[in-house]
Each structure stands twice: as structure tokens, then as C-alpha cells.
């Protein structure tokens, strides 16, 4: 039984970078933004990660009151089709091991203190990456008294990745674009 499950996976080979559900000729997908090629993005990202972070870029996910949509996409990034780790990026369990924070959610008042504490536990210099509309500016619930308008109200945000939720490929694209930006390079090189 055990072998049976392994055999199929081995025969199938790595799924990384493959299309999960390829469309047949002539079938038009529902209208949406252009899809960036995950492989190209990932390879470019790997080059940047090697240059800026010596090949290992570790991030800590921090849920600041998200709806779980962004979390699902981050989990998908770790799944077999994207396999984030092969580009030198990984999500780690403790902020003390992280080069940066991936913050989702608008920062609810209830989580404000926890967000601050997590940030304090992250060694400097660190990147703060806002994932999703809520973390960028409060998103759909920005008008609520129970939330802050994004993580920017508490912490200096280096990278914003809009989307509700941003698709896995969009997260990769945004990370890549961000690593090319001056401010992030300064952060990565060691901001005082």
C-alpha cells in the first residue's frame, strides 16, 4: 500500500511548475489578469535571493486578522505545483529565524499587541511584507472601528502585495519586483 502511493508519485515526477489543470484547445478561461509564468518568476527570484540573502530567504507568516484566503494561497505556494522552497524561499515557524514577516489581514485591534510582539521577536534588519488588500490598506474592512488600516499603521512596510487574495503567482511576482527595488535592497543589506 505504502509503495503504491510512492510509486505513482515517483512515476509522475516533480509537479513543480506544471499546470494543475491545463485547459484544452479552444476553451477560454474566465477573464482575469494575465498569468505570469511561475517558472520564470521563480528562477529570477532564486537569483535575487542568492545575491541578497545568500541563497536562503526565510519568512514568517503572521495572521493579523485575515479571512484565511491569503493563508490558503500561501499554503498553495508551498504545495507541489509551486514548491516555493526550490527557489530558496521558505516559511519558518519562529519569527526569531526569519528574515522578514509576511503579514496578512488588516491588523484587528485584538491582534495589535501580538503583531507588535512578533515583530519585536524578529531579528533586525527585517522585511515587512503586506500580503493582500487587507494588510496593504485595510481592504474591504478598512472602515471598521475594530481594525487598523493595514499593517503600515504599526510597522514600516517594505513590500505591498495587493489582491483579494493575491494568487500564488502574483505573490511570487510581487516578491521578485520588490527584491529589485532600492529600498528593499537597503533593508536586506542591513538597515541601521
Amino acid at each position: 500500500m505504502n509503495w503504491e502511493s510512492l510509486r505513482r508519485a515517483l512515476q509522475r515526477g516533480s509537479l513543480a511548475g506544471r499546470d494543475a489543470a491545463p485547459l484544452p484547445e479552444g476553451l477560454v478561461p474566465a477573464p482575469r489578469e494575465d498569468h505570469a509564468e511561475v517558472e520564470l518568476l521563480g528562477e529570477a527570484l532564486r537569483v535575487e535571493v542568492r545575491r541578497l540573502f545568500r541563497g536562503s530567504f526565510r519568512l514568517r507568516h503572521l495572521d493579523a486578522g485575515s479571512c484565511n484566503g491569503c493563508e490558503a494561497e500561501l499554503q498553495a505556494l508551498l504545495g507541489p505545483f509551486y514548491d516555493l522552497q526550490r527557489f530558496g524561499l521558505d516559511l519558518v515557524a519562529s519569527p526569531r529565524h526569519a528574515d522578514g514577516l509576511l503579514v496578512t489581514g488588516p491588523v484587528t485591534r485584538h491582534l495589535e499587541e501580538a503583531v507588535r510582539a512578533t515583530d519585536e521577536a524578529t531579528p533586525r534588519p527585517r522585511l515587512v511584507i503586506a500580503v493582500g488588500d487587507c494588510a496593504c490598506d485595510g481592504g474591504f474592512c478598512a472602515d471598521s472601528f475594530a481594525v487598523r488600516r493595514g499593517v503600515g499603521e504599526l510597522l514600516p512596510v517594505d513590500v505591498r502585495i495587493p489582491g483579494c487574495p493575491p494568487e500564488p503567482a502574483e505573490i511570487l511576482r510581487a516578491l521578485l519586483a520588490a527584491l529589485g527595488r532600492e529600498r528593499v535592497r537597503v533593508s536586506a543589506a542591513g538597515r541601521a
Binding site: D63, G65, G79, H110, S144
Partner: protein, 535 residues
């Protein structure tokens, strides 16, 4: 929930008759408020008594309980307690008025344990006090809240610059060798925020306290005075992974309110999308459970299948989590013949791979050792706490909103309500695989019998003061939305009870006597949402 021995298929009539006979002096008013809802107004002092009888004697199951601020102009608060009268597609609502200046009532919880968190939540959000509640601590209002802050009151003014940092008390367990293990709200994985306080002796857990409310975004308040479009956007973002179920429940409430009839093609597409969501969610839970028992190949396999469903959802409906599919009055997306054919082919792969991956996992002693007998939830406890969905069916209860309160296209479809008796992690694991099979069958049926016609019916003005109810079987259980229109056709009140809200208290009981390392596994096997519990 349980038809009585005489085979009475109309428990609502029986309950109404019973209330009229037994509580003749208590009934202030009784009327039929929609096709399926009957409303009985009773004095607040008698509410607990009547509710207890509805549950104990006439087979009612508490769907939700909430309070409304009607001080202007009626000078009162009102409590609504909604009971499902399954197998009849009927809802019995008990309504009680509480005086403006002393909003108190005898607690329902001693007679109806399912009201436990609901009463505490109403106390936090509206300041109505359940007298004699066995555990009246706040659930959403962590102790950092300013005293007397009740956000869902109409005259609520948000405080400025207050520290809302949660402070709360846990029930202490004392004795030699008892340890307290705090977990969260920030967890090690990519998970939502919740605080768990485990009291253990050695490896054995004596007590688990679940403290949620961290992701409370005040969405019900945000909907006050909003348009339906805005309300739908809020509903879809209550929860990322059961977005469609919430959207559907919201739309159904709006449609019942406006008296709209959804065209057949829209109903079928709604059901189809709902089953896609269920399949994706169940696959994620299967992957999560196997990951927690370190069965990595199985976890990867189910993650792969989940991504296929998500991707197909995105390709066909334009959103991986199916937002924007369902709108009040119908749907916004259509599937043409080629798309239907392709979907069947994609899902055909799942049909073979899901049971194969599950067989491989459950055929291994190391998996069975972890899941069999772990985190068992008894059927009686589940029933008492109003647990629905996978958690209830894995504990032997025959409850399914798709059958008990048919919506969308389910009245016209053949499907099994699959059950397991053991109530342990293994039961929830295997049940989900069976339910994916049923979902695939349902999608096939819908594609084969997809009716023609328009995609949506225009919803007119919302009649002021009327309300509507939406009940949807989400991947986790029953989502209940209650919507009332204001004077200008805007949303006046919106109350949501997500399935997870009912199941969290049951989780606290299911871990009793298990070992600490099994807590994450048991938690994952229930697969509950934090965000839509907190709202």
C-alpha cells in the same frame, strides 16, 4: 433532526400545537413569517422554558440565537432563537422582547447547551444578559474592552485610542503535576489566530479552553446601513475558504426577504460551485490530517488534488475561491458545453485518485495508530451542542442542510448523507473522502441536467422591516445568515452564525483524555474556521 417514533414528518405542527397547549398563557403572538418560518413571541421570562421543550420534546435543533437593538422606536431589545425543525424544511423562531433599561432574561443554556457561546456573544455585542448562564465570561469582548462597550447597539460610538489588547481568564485546573500549556494566538504554521490553553497531567489533557475573537473585524456592524452589494462583499470575506457558502447564505437571506425566485439554471450553478468548494475544502482537510500524522506522501497527494480543484474553479468561474459567482437573485457566471465537458474530465481524475490515496494512508499502521480512537466526539454531546456538518455526521448524526433545508438545486439531486459512528479522527478522515465522492456525483448530475434559462432575477426594493433567513450546508456545517431591511431598503441588521461557531465548544470536549501531541491533529480533523467564527 429526529422524526419521532410515530413517523411524524411534520415536527413544526407538533411543536406549534405543543406550545399552544402547554404554554397557552405564554404565547403573545404567533404567525407564519415566510414559507418556512413560523414565529412565536413569548415573554423573556418564559423563553428558556419554551426553548427547552422545543428541543427536548419536539425535535428542534438550535440554528442560531441573536439579539437586536430595537430601542428606537420600540424601547426594547429583541432575542431571536431559530430552531431547525428537520426533517421538515421548517424553522421555528422564538422571539422575546427585553426591556430597554434592564435587558436581562433567564439563560437558555442550561436547557439548550447549543446556546452556550451564542448567549455570551450577544452579551458582548449588545449587552443583553443571560441570567444563570453557567459560564458568562466574554467570548468576543476580551477583557481589554472598555466597560459597557457593546458594538452592535445602534448608539455605539467607537472609542478612540483604547488599548484592546486581549486579557482573559481561563478556568484553572489545580492539583499535583498539573501543567498549563498556552498556545497561540500566533501559531507556527500558516494558520489563523486562536488561543488554546491546555491543562495536562503528563501527556494527558484534562481540559482545553478555546479563546477566539482575535480576528474580530466587526463585520456585522459594518453591514449596518450598507447596500446589498456591499453586504455581499462582506459576506464573501467572512471566510476565505468557505466564501461561496457564506455568499450563498447571504443571497438566500436577501432573496427570501425580497420574495425573489432564483431561476433554475442559477440554482444548479450555485449547487455546482458549492460542491466544488466542498471538494476543495475537504481535500485540504485530508491533506492537513495526513500532514499532522507525518504521512507526507498522502498529504502531498491531497494538496495536489486540492490545487487542481482550485485551479479549475479559477479557470471556470474567475476566482479560485469562487467569489463573485453568487449574487442576490442568481449567479454571475455561466458554463458553456465545452467548459462543462472539461470540468467533468478534470474531476474524473479526482474520482480515482482520492480513494486510492486514502486507501494507501489508512492501510498503514502508523497512520491508523494515530487516527483511530483519537479525539472521539460522542453523538449525544454533538447533538446537545448543536454541532452540524462533517463533525456531526462523523459522530453518527444524520444532519445535512442540503437534505434538511434544501436550497439551490439540492431538491432535484440524488445524494447520500454519509455517516460514521465512531466520531474519532479516523471517522472524520474517511467521511470526508466519501463526501468528496458524493460531491463529484452531484457535479456530474448537475452537468448532465443543467437547465436552461436566465442566470438571475432582478431583486426589487427590499421591503422595509422584513427579514430573511439563509441556511447553507458549508464544507464545515450549517451557515445561518439573518438579514433585515431598513426603512430605505438598506441592510438594517445582519446576523451570521458560521458552522465552526457551533463546533468549537465540541472540540474542547473531544480532546479530553487525549495526549497533548494529538491536539493539533484533533483540531485539524475538525478543520474549523477562525475568521468566520469571529466575524
Amino acid at each position: 433532526m429526529n422524526a419521532d417514533a410515530s413517523g411524524d414528518l411534520f415536527p413544526l405542527d407538533r411543536a406549534l400545537r405543543g406550545i399552544r397547549e402547554r404554554f397557552a398563557d405564554a404565547v403573545i403572538d404567533a404567525e407564519r413569517t415566510s414559507l418556512r418560518e413560523h414565529t412565536v413571541v413569548v415573554p423573556a421570562a418564559r423563553l428558556a422554558e419554551v426553548a427547552g421543550a422545543v428541543v427536548r420534546e419536539w425535535g428542534g435543533a438550535l440554528l442560531t440565537l441573536f439579539a437586536l437593538d430595537e430601542r428606537d422606536p420600540h424601547g426594547r431589545f429583541r432575542l431571536h432563537a431559530l430552531f431547525s425543525m428537520a426533517p421538515e424544511d421548517a424553522i421555528l423562531t422564538l422571539v422575546a422582547a427585553l426591556p430597554e433599561h434592564a435587558p436581562e432574561y433567564p439563560s437558555l443554556t442550561p436547557a439548550v447547551p447549543a446556546a452556550h457561546w451564542l448567549e455570551r456573544e450577544a452579551q458582548d455585542l449588545l449587552g443583553v444578559t443571560p441570567l444563570g448562564h453557567p459560564d458568562p465570561r466574554p467570548v468576543i469582548a476580551h477583557a481589554g474592552w472598555p466597560r459597557g462597550m457593546h458594538p452592535l447597539r445602534r448608539d455605539f460610538v467607537p472609542p478612540e485610542g483604547t488599548s484592546w489588547a486581549p486579557r482573559f481568564s481561563c478556568i484553572p485546573v489545580e492539583g499535583e503535576g498539573v501543567f498549563e500549556i498556552p498556545v497561540g494566538p500566533i501559531h507556527a504554521g500558516v494558520i489563523e489566530p486562536g488561543h488554546f490553553r491546555i491543562s495536562s497531567v503528563g501527556e494527558t489533557m484534562l481540559q482545553l479552553e478555546v479563546r477566539l475573537g482575535w480576528a474580530w473585524r466587526g463585520l456585522e456592524k459594518l453591514a449596518e446601513g450598507a447596500s446589498l452589494t456591499r453586504g455581499l462583499a462582506l459576506a464573501e470575506r467572512l471566510c476565505g475558504t468557505c466564501a461561496l457558502a457564506h455568499a450563498l447564505a447571504f443571497c438566500q437571506a436577501a432573496e427570501e426577504l425580497a420574495g425573489a425566485v432564483v431561476p433554475p439554471r442559477a440554482r444548479a450553478l450555485r449547487s455546482l460551485a458549492a460542491e466544488l468548494e466542498r471538494a476543495a475544502s475537504h481535500l485540504g482537510d485530508l491533506a492537513g490530517i495526513l500532514n499532522d500524522v507525518a504521512w507526507v506522501t498522502g498529504a502531498a497527494e491531497f494538496t495536489r488534488l486540492q490545487e487542481i480543484v482550485r485551479r479549475a474553479s479559477g479557470q471556470l468561474f474567475g476566482h479560485r475561491f469562487l467569489r463573485g459567482v453568487c449574487v442576490p437573485g442568481g449567479v454571475q457566471r455561466d458554463l458553456d458545453d465545452a467548459q462543462q465537458l472539461w470540468l467533468r474530465r478534470v474531476l474524473g481524475e479526482l474520482r480515482a485518485d482520492v480513494p486510492r490515496a486514502l486507501r494507501a494512508a489508512t492501510g498503514d499502521a502508523s497512520v491508523i495508530d494515530r487516527v483511530a480512537g483519537t479525539g472521539a466526539l460522542g453523538g449525544e454531546i454533538a447533538r446537545g451542542l448543536g454541532v452540524t456538518g462533517v463533525a456531526a455526521r462523523a459522530s453518527g448524526l444524520s444532519v445535512d442542510g442540503r437534505r434538511d433545508h434544501p436550497y439551490a438545486f439540492y431538491r432535484d439531486l440524488d445524494f447520500q448523507v454519509v455517516r460514521r459512528e465512531a466520531g474519532d479522527v479516523r471517522a472524520r478522515l474517511e467521511l470526508r473522502a466519501d463526501e468528496i465522492h458524493e460531491s463529484l456525483n452531484l457535479i456530474d448530475q448537475m452537468i448532465l441536467r443543467l437547465p436552461g434559462g436566465p442566470l438571475a432575477q432582478h431583486l426589487g426594493e427590499l421591503p422595509p422591516g422584513r427579514w430573511g433567513i439563509g441556511v447553507v450546508e458549508s464544507p464545515r456545517g450549517l451557515h445561518v445568515h439573518w438579514l433585515r431591511a431598513g426603512a430605505r431598503g438598506e441592510i438594517a441588521d445582519w446576523r451570521v452564525r458560521s458552522a465552526s461557531h457551533a463546533i468549537w465548544p465540541a472540540l474542547a470536549l473531544a480532546v479530553h483524555g487525549n495526549i497533548v501531541p494529538d491536539f493539533p491533529l484533533i483540531n485539524r480533523s475538525f478543520g474549523l474556521c477562525y475568521a468566520c467564527t469571529d466575524k
